[in-house]
Structure formats: structure tokens, C-alpha cells
């Protein structure tokens, strides 16, 4: 008797799980969002979500994809690698989404990509720049279901090393990096390789651990070695503190960084008078006079009442990017698995997609080939410095 009861309950349970997603997937296209909405790098995720929402709202208002509206299933991965994978799993299996947008950071994307590969769901990160995000490190093959719409760290490290050598005429560089971050280590490797190949010398490589606030002892050490530039491939929380503490110790040399510097919190933490002589590579600049960029800024300001940063722009592009792929994917809504496959092929074939952050071509490595800009901080204000093409 008991066994029968248990099996009936189990059967009902299984059926309810199976029927729920199918019932709702008839009239809408479900797209999952796996982003850092709280935790250490919450700024990136929140801004990207703002961008994605703005784009999807516009698309839905214009009639959606072939009459079907896009529905976002948003989940927070708490800036945590393990949680990012759990969220990706939930989105793929429980919510039966067609694709997953996010996560924002490299480490989280790498662990979420395991779930994406396993359940064959296309996953597109708007801002994970680490080289190995789209490549399986063990087999050196491209992960079939993982994509990104931003440039990668080889390109970014290259750009910053060349900038240090050619524009700043630097010969000796000191590096401060977060030894617990994939992003930081990846960027360090690429910067160092290019900088040393071009005749420069890395005179100090200082690691710190997650959540570090006190950089004064590292910076004192670096100050004695008299570098021409300091390269700090870190996220905004540390970036602001490093700039502030370096300037307070009397270090005046240029401080370089990657796209992790692109957040107003860097200047807030460093202080306006300290945020000088700071250069970083970014995905876009709000000072770009391009009509598409200015148009986006206007729309974003009307909706959120604040200036968009690069992450908002990346999110916005990702919204249109997925819509573009969905339109071309020739979805049949017969089964989620087959539609995911169709969508994946459509994403792979994306060519000359014009976004706010540049023209995106998806290459064989599932990376976006697009340009980068270099931004300078002058008294805390972002100045557009150079635009560099791949």
C-alpha cells in the first residue's frame, strides 16, 4: 500500500515538472538570465540586466520575434562561481529556456558553461573576457554552446601592453593582480607576454587574495622598484583602492587596467583628485559620437535616469544580439532541444551585427571580433583616448 502511494506521488511530481514548462512555452520565447545581481561584482550584473531589459522591452514592443514575445527568466548568481552553475542548471532544466544570457565575469561564466555544455543550451556572456571561457582547457576545443559578445583578454592585454610601450613609452612595468580571479590571471599573462616581447620588462608581479583592502605594503614595495607604469588587471572594488593608496604613497606613474575599471565606483573610491593618469581598455565610450551610441544613451537615460556605462551597453547589445539570432534561427517550437540546436547554429553564423559597442562578427572560436577603446581618467572624468580595431 505504502509503495503504491509513494509511486503515485512520485508520478504526479514528475508529471507536474514535465508539463509546466511546455504549457508556458507556447506563446512566449523563454530566455534565461544568469547574472551577478548581488555580491562582490554586483555592479556589472545589475548594469547588464538594465541593458538587456531595455533591449528586450523595445523588441517586444515592436512585436517580438515573429509574433512571439521574449520572456526573461532572471536569476541571481550572487557573484559566486558555484551558484552561477546552479543557476545555469536551473534555467536549462527546470525553466527550459532556449538560451542563457550571462554571467558577467569570467570565473562564473566558466563554471556556468559546464551546465550549458551538458544540457546543450546556448550560453552567451556579454563581458567574460578570459580566453579560456569559450575553450575547453583540457581538450583545447571550442565549447560548442558557449559564446561571448565582447573581446577577449588576449586582445585586451595586447592593447594595453602596446599602449604602455608605444604611447606611454614605458620600459619597466609592475603588475598587481588578484590570484583568485581568472580574469586577473588571464589578463596578466597576455599583458606580460606582449610587453616583454616588445622590449619592456616586468619588474614586479604582486599577487593578493580575494577581498583584500590593504595594498599599502605591496605598493610600498613597488614604489622602491621605480616602475614606469603599474598594470592592475582587477575589478572595480580593488581598482579604486589601489589607485587611492598608490597616490597617497606618492606613486605618480600611470596606472593601467582592463575593462574591470569601467565603473563609477572606481572614482568614488579613489577620490577625484587621485583618479588621474589612469588608463584602461573598455568596450565603449559614452563620448563616441556615433549615432547609434548617442541614441542608446538617450533611451537609457529616459528609462533609468542615469548615464549608462559599458556594461549597460554590453547588456543592451546582447539583448539585440539574441533577438537577431532568434529571428534567423527558424524556430519550430516542436521541442526545446531541437530549437536550442537551431539557435546555436544561428548564433555561430552571426556576421556584421551592428551594436552600440561595435560591429560583432562571431568567429570560429565563438569570440566576438570587435574594437576596443582606451579611456583616460582625468580628475575622475572618463576621457575617450583611442579606438583600436582587431
Amino acid at each position: 500500500m505504502k509503495r503504491v502511494l509513494v509511486s503515485v506521488v512520485l508520478l504526479i511530481f514528475i508529471l507536474s515538472i514535465l508539463t509546466v514548462p511546455f504549457a508556458s512555452s507556447k506563446n512566449v520565447i523563454k530566455i534565461g538570465v544568469d547574472l551577478e545581481l548581488s555580491g562582490a561584482v554586483a555592479q556589472y550584473g545589475q548594469k547588464e540586466l538594465d541593458g538587456i531589459k531595455l533591449a528586450i522591452d523595445e523588441i517586444n514592443k515592436k512585436g517580438g520575434i515573429n509574433g512571439k514575445k521574449i520572456e526573461l527568466v532572471v536569476m541571481d548568481n550572487k557573484s559566486d562561481k558555484t551558484e552561477a552553475q546552479n543557476v545555469a542548471y536551473k534555467l536549462a532544466v527546470r525553466q527550459n529556456v532556449l538560451a542563457i544570457l550571462g554571467p558577467a565575469t569570467s570565473g562564473a561564466t566558466k563554471s556556468a558553461s559546464m551546465a550549458a555544455t551538458k544540457y546543450k543550451v546556448p550560453l552567451i556572456s556579454p563581458s567574460a573576457t578570459d580566453d579560456s571561457v569559450t575553450i575547453d582547457e583540457r581538450t583545447n576545443r571550442v565549447k560548442s554552446y558557449v559564446f561571448r559578445t565582447c573581446f577577449n583578454d588576449s586582445f585586451q592585454g595586447n592593447v594595453m601592453a602596446n599602449f604602455a610601450i608605444k604611447t606611454l613609452k614605458a620600459k619597466k612595468a609592475a603588475i598587481i593582480y588578484d590570484a583568485t580571479s581568472d580574469y586577473s590571471k588571464g589578463l596578466l599573462k597576455n599583458f606580460k607576454a606582449v610587453f616583454e616581447k616588445s622590449g619592456g620588462k616586468v619588474i614586479a608581479e604582486e599577487a593578493f587574495g580575494k577581498g583584500e583592502q590593504d595594498f599599502s605594503s605591496i605598493l610600498t614595495k613597488i614604489r622602491d622598484k621605480k616602475p614606469d607604469v603599474i598594470f592592475a588587471p582587477v575589478y572595480y572594488d580593488e581598482a579604486g583602492l589601489i589607485i587611492k593608496q598608490a597616490r597617497e604613497l606618492g606613486i605618480k606613474v600611470p596606472i593601467l587596467g582592463g575593462d574591470g575599471f569601467d565603473d563609477p565606483k572606481v572614482v568614488e573610491k579613489a577620490g577625484k583628485e587621485n583618479a588621474n593618469n589612469v588608463f584602461f581598455s573598455a568596450h565603449y565610450s559614452s563620448q563616441d559620437t556615433d549615432k547609434k551610441v548617442q541614441n542608446f544613451i538617450k533611451k537609457y537615460k529616459t528609462k533609468y535616469n542615469q548615464e549608462p556605462n559599458a556594461f549597460a551597453a554590453l547588456g543592451y547589445d546582447l539583448g539585440y544580439f539574441i533577438a537577431d539570432a532568434l529571428k534567423r534561427a527558424n524556430l519550430k517550437f516542436d521541442s526545446v532541444t531541437k530549437d536550442r540546436e537551431r539557435l546555436k547554429i544561428a548564433i555561430e553564423n552571426t556576421k556584421n551585427f551592428v551594436g552600440v559597442t561595435g560591429v560583432i562578427n562571431i568567429n570560429k572560436m565563438h569570440n566576438a571580433e570587435k574594437s576596443a577603446v582606451i579611456i583616460e581618467l582625468k580628475d575622475g572624468i572618463q576621457m575617450f583616448k583611442q579606438k583600436l580595431n582587431p
Partner: protein
């Protein structure tokens, strides 16, 4: 030479933070033999209270510091009454686990109320750098504030413990709770005072850290809390000068490790130090060996 002096200055700054937090640790341990793991989180709450009073009430440094200290002393008393008092006669492990629970409660509560991302602490004092010896040594006015306020609070604390009636009661309770009760000392009130003073010191440390690094987040108390615990054990847990000595030594040792070795080792060295002191002299640097009476 100038590098060493600069590193020592960095170390003393870090050390004064540890010292302030570990004073509260050591007081609570001295009185009721409880390792209050929630102490580091009271430090965090203190920073947030000051943040709120600065941003919303537009108050200056000293008023916000006082508000935060008062709020946290009330919080400390409340925590003691609600979480630790009912367990006072239970095995010590029960109180220890409760302390960890309170710690997690405070961390997560703050994440719900204020959000999990870090916030920029407003600048309350104009920053000034003093360059000595042709700019080879830099001292920041906030470092001086940090040291002066720490030393000042320690002197006040020492005065309270040594010279006042409540201090006398504290010392009596720490020696023998039952005997103190028989002598007419109100043990509950004394313990409440201890928590109030300890939490107020932690709050002060939180505000000063917010001011110095201008960054606060709901998990900022975890590591300094652990470090302050190490500092307290290092100097001799339950001994107030020991907490100061432990705090400053730990701060200086950590800075020297990251200044001459690698920043990645400094936490490892701190914990290695804890293990070493427990093996060599478990009562701490200033601790006396007390013989168990048979």
C-alpha cells in the same frame, strides 16, 4: 631603511584596527569565557550605522562615531541577553555555536537590508599627506586619526577597568563569578556592561576602517574578526594589554610578510602564528600559567 619605516607605518595602521577589535574579544572572553565570534560582525554593523548617519543625517565624524558606538553597545547587550544568557550554564560549545549563528545572522541580515555589494564610505575629513625625508616616507592624516583614536580609547578602557566601580566588578566577575555574586555584585549587569563596552570599541574600529579604506561591505567583519581573535590569543586572551600587543604585532608582522614576501602568505602566517603560540605558550605572550586546583 626608509622602506622599512614606511612598512612599519603601514603595519601600525593595520595593527591599530586589529587591536581595537581584539580588545572587545578579550574583554568578553575574560569575563564569561566565551569566544564571541559575532564580534567581527558588530564591527561591520558599526561601520554601516556610521555610513547611514553620515549619508542620511549628514553628521560629521565624531557624532557618527558616537551614534555608531551607542547603537552597537545596545546591540551587544541585546545579543548577550537573547543569545548567550540563556546558555550561560550550558556547555561552552553551545555558546560558541550560538556565537557563530549570531555572526551569520548579522551578516545575512545586513545583506538583505543594505544589499550585498560594497559601498563607498563618505569622506569625513579632508585628506592630507605628510611627506618626510624627501618624500620617501608618507604619513596620511587618516593614519594619525586611526592611531590617536585607538590609543585614546585604550586609555579610556584601561581607566574604566582599573579605576571605576564597574571595572572593579568586571575584574571580580572574571576571577570567580559565583564568589562575586556572593559579595553582592550584580553579575548580569556587569556582563551587560562588558558587552556594551566591547561592542562600542568594535563599532569604533568599524567606523575608522570605513574612513581609512572608504569601502564597507556586509562581509567586511569576517577576516578582521578572525585576525582580532588571533591577536587576542597571541597577546593572551582575557588580558587587555595583551590584546593591544597582539593587535599591533599581528598588523606589523602581516605587513612585513607582504612587503618582503608575498601578500598571499600573510593570512597563512597569521594562522601559523596562532598555531605556534598555542603549542609554545597557550596562555599567550602576557598570559600567566594558572595551575588547576585539585
Amino acid at each position: 631603511m626608509s622602506t622599512l619605516i614606511q612598512q612599519l607605518i603601514n603595519g601600525i595602521t593595520l595593527g591599530s584596527i586589529y587591536a581595537l577589535i581584539s580588545l572587545g574579544y578579550t574583554m568578553v572572553y575574560g569575563i564569561i569565557k566565551l569566544i564571541n565570534f559575532a564580534h567581527g560582525d558588530i564591527f561591520m554593523v558599526g561601520a554601516y550605522i556610521a555610513f547611514l548617519s553620515v549619508t542620511y543625517l549628514k553628521l560629521g565624524l565624531i557624532p557618527s562615531l558616537l551614534i555608531s558606538m551607542i547603537f552597537c553597545s545596545v546591540l551587544g547587550i541585546l545579543i548577550e541577553k537573547l543569545a548567550y544568557k540563556p546558555l550561560r550554564n550550558s556547555p561552552r560549545i553551545a555558546a560558541l555555536i550560538t556565537a557563530i549563528g549570531v555572526s551569520l545572522l548579522l551578516e545575512n541580515l545586513m545583506q538583505i537590508i543594505m544589499g550585498a555589494d560594497s559601498r563607498v564610505f563618505p569622506r569625513l575629513v579632508a585628506e592630507k599627506n605628510y611627506h618626510l625625508f624627501q618624500g620617501r616616507i608618507v604619513v596620511n592624516n587618516k593614519q594619525i586619526y586611526l592611531l590617536v583614536i585607538t590609543v585614546l580609547l585604550m586609555i579610556i578602557l584601561n581607566f574604566i577597568v582599573k579605576k571605576t566601580k564597574i571595572g572593579k566588578a568586571m575584574r571580580a566577575v572574571s576571577q570567580d563569578m559565583d564568589a562575586a555574586r556572593l559579595m553582592g555584585i550584580n553579575v548580569d549587569t556587569t556582563i551587560s556592561y562588558t558587552f556594551a563596552i566591547g561592542s562600542a570599541l568594535a563599532a569604533a574600529a568599524g567606523v575608522l576602517v570605513g574612513l581609512y579604506y572608504n569601502t564597507i561591505n556586509p562581509l567586511m567583519g569576517v577576516l578582521p574578526g578572525l585576525k582580532a581573535f588571533i591577536a587576542a590569543v597571541f597577546g593572551g586572551i582575557g588580558i587587555i594589554p595583551g590584546a593591544m600587543l597582539g593587535g599591533f604585532s599581528l598588523g606589523i608582522i602581516e605587513t612585513l610578510v607582504s612587503g618582503y614576501g608575498s601578500s598571499m602568505y600573510k593570512d597563512a602566517v597569521a594562522f601559523a602564528l596562532l598555531i605556534l603560540i598555542l603549542i609554545i605558550k597557550p596562555s599567550g605572550l602576557l598570559g600567566k600559567n594558572i595551575k588547576e586546583k585539585v
